[in-house]
């Protein structure tokens, strides 16, 4: 008890205990936290303009320079196509470095014994992905690659070679997989998706521009076949000179190409209140949700 007395909070509370009952008008802000605004009288704020000019006259806009009215400063330079023109085309990825992944596993946010994908990363509420501004998922970057200790089974949307090497050196399995916008929205916030009463969507294959990346075994694409990936894994180990652990970390079988969540088939409806799962039985719906399809060309 005596220890507590020396803390400012306890001393303040003792003052409060002896004080009179605190009423609504007693609560006030700290002295000096807010100062009354500075009254700018007419005399001292003309700044060389009369009051009318300040209030009514149109002012030259930002970037206007003395001179040609139709050529403001920002028009003096030639445009560059690859500056911002392809904003509606290029895909943005959220960087996830290996050291941050290690820290998340250390502090218990992510369970390394289960497969890690967009849903597990987004359920920690530490990442914001917005598919509407063409953010297509996570990019595993290589900061912290040299001391990555955990054998994990991870699936990201883009990964550099050194990140792949780090994960495999630690005995983990890494796959890069594509989420189209609809599936991505479901994967980011499954609870909100189910509470909107939506059907679990079918994940479409990558469009023409991206299928090359995801069919390439070098990037551990999910469309490449396992044997190629295995060879690549071995010769990557040889190139980078680390010894591959004998068996690869396999927590669960990989998701199928059109599956968004582990263990939940596409086309199923989940009711969170009753903990039930429904799936269609008539032919056309089952085929609609099982036919593996590629994303539209300009997605």
């Amino acid at each position: 008890m005596s220890q507590a007395l020396r803390s400012a909070k306890e001393r303040a509370l003792q003052i409060v205990e002896q004080a009179s009952k605190i009423r609504i008008q007693d609560a006030r802000d700290n002295l000096g936290a807010r100062t009354s605004g500075r009254q700018v009288r007419k005399a001292n704020n003309q700044m060389g303009h009369t009051q009318g000019a300040l209030e009514r006259a149109a002012k030259p806009p930002l970037g206007w320079i003395w001179g040609d009215f139709f050529r403001p400063w920002q028009r003096m330079f030639p445009g560059e196509k690859h500056f911002n023109a392809d904003i509606n085309v290029r895909r943005e990825y959220i960087p996830l470095s290996l050291i941050e992944l290690t820290r998340l596993i250390d502090l218990g946010w992510i369970d390394p014994s289960k497969p890690i994908d967009i849903s597990t990363l987004c359920r920690t509420q530490k990442f914001q992905i917005n598919p509407n501004i063409r953010q297509y998922g996570f990019d595993l970057t290589e900061e912290g690659a040299d001391s990555f200790p955990y054998a994990i089974d991870i699936e990201v949307q883009y990964a550099t070679q050194s990140a792949i090497a780090a994960v495999e050196k630690a005995g983990g399995r890494i796959r890069t997989s594509y989420y189209d916008v609809n599936a991505l929205e479901a994967a980011i916030d499954p609870k909100k998706w189910f509470e909107k009463g939506n059907v679990v969507p079918q994940r479409k294959a990558p469009p023409k521009t991206l299928i090359g990346y995801y069919m390439d075994a070098k990037n551990r694409g999910y469309l490449a076949d396992e044997s190629d990936i295995e060879n690549n894994r071995i010769n990557l180990a040889n190139i980078r000179g680390y010894k591959l652990p004998d068996h690869e970390m396999v927590t669960e079988p990989l998701k199928t190409v059109d599956q968004v969540f582990h263990g939940i088939p596409a086309g199923s409806v989940i009711s969170l209140a009753d903990k039930k799962l429904y799936s269609p039985t008539n032919e056309i719906h089952r085929e609609y949700y099982s036919k593996q399809v590629a994303d539209k060309q300009y997605s």
Partner: protein, 202 residues
Amino acid sequence: MLASTSVSKASNLARIVILPIRSFHDRSSVPRVVDDREKSSAKYTDAGYNFRYHQNGVDALPRIPDCKVPVARPDFKVREPWSVENARFGQNDYIDLLGDGSIHPAQLQYHTPTWLRGFPGQHRANELVKLIHYRNLYDSKLKQNSPKRWHELRKRIKYLMMQHNYNKQDELNRERDLGLWDEKPDYTFKDKSRRSFRDEIP
């Protein structure tokens, strides 16, 4: 709490001070109330009124003889601290924190017009944003059933647009995020024709 800044004693070794860190400049982190402007204006007038305990009948209040100007007296305001509204003032303001999070206090503002319920207030959104929000919600009804108000609304919006986009000086601080619109890459690269906002006046 007064700022306690202390500079360590210069050690006797001949140490070169690499980065002369001064203590805080004279203005401490919390601005001081130095001169209170209200103090000068709030003069209290001694009306010379002394309360006589044992007096019956109306007492002569201090008045300027034969002055026609009536003395201003605030009318009596009935304060019922324990009427139902006052007793229950502020109830359910923390319903999203203390409840299960399904209701937000913005939904409980029954006394506010429906289109303003939960809309950012005066010091966040200005009149132009509010009118545009009103117009986007009710333009079909306005056009059909109240043309004069539709005309007035458009005139007022146009006037405010000219004020805010042309006559106003450039804003000094960062644009305020009102939380009314979601982010989108609004880049109309190729669309050179749509270059002036006047093109789209409905």
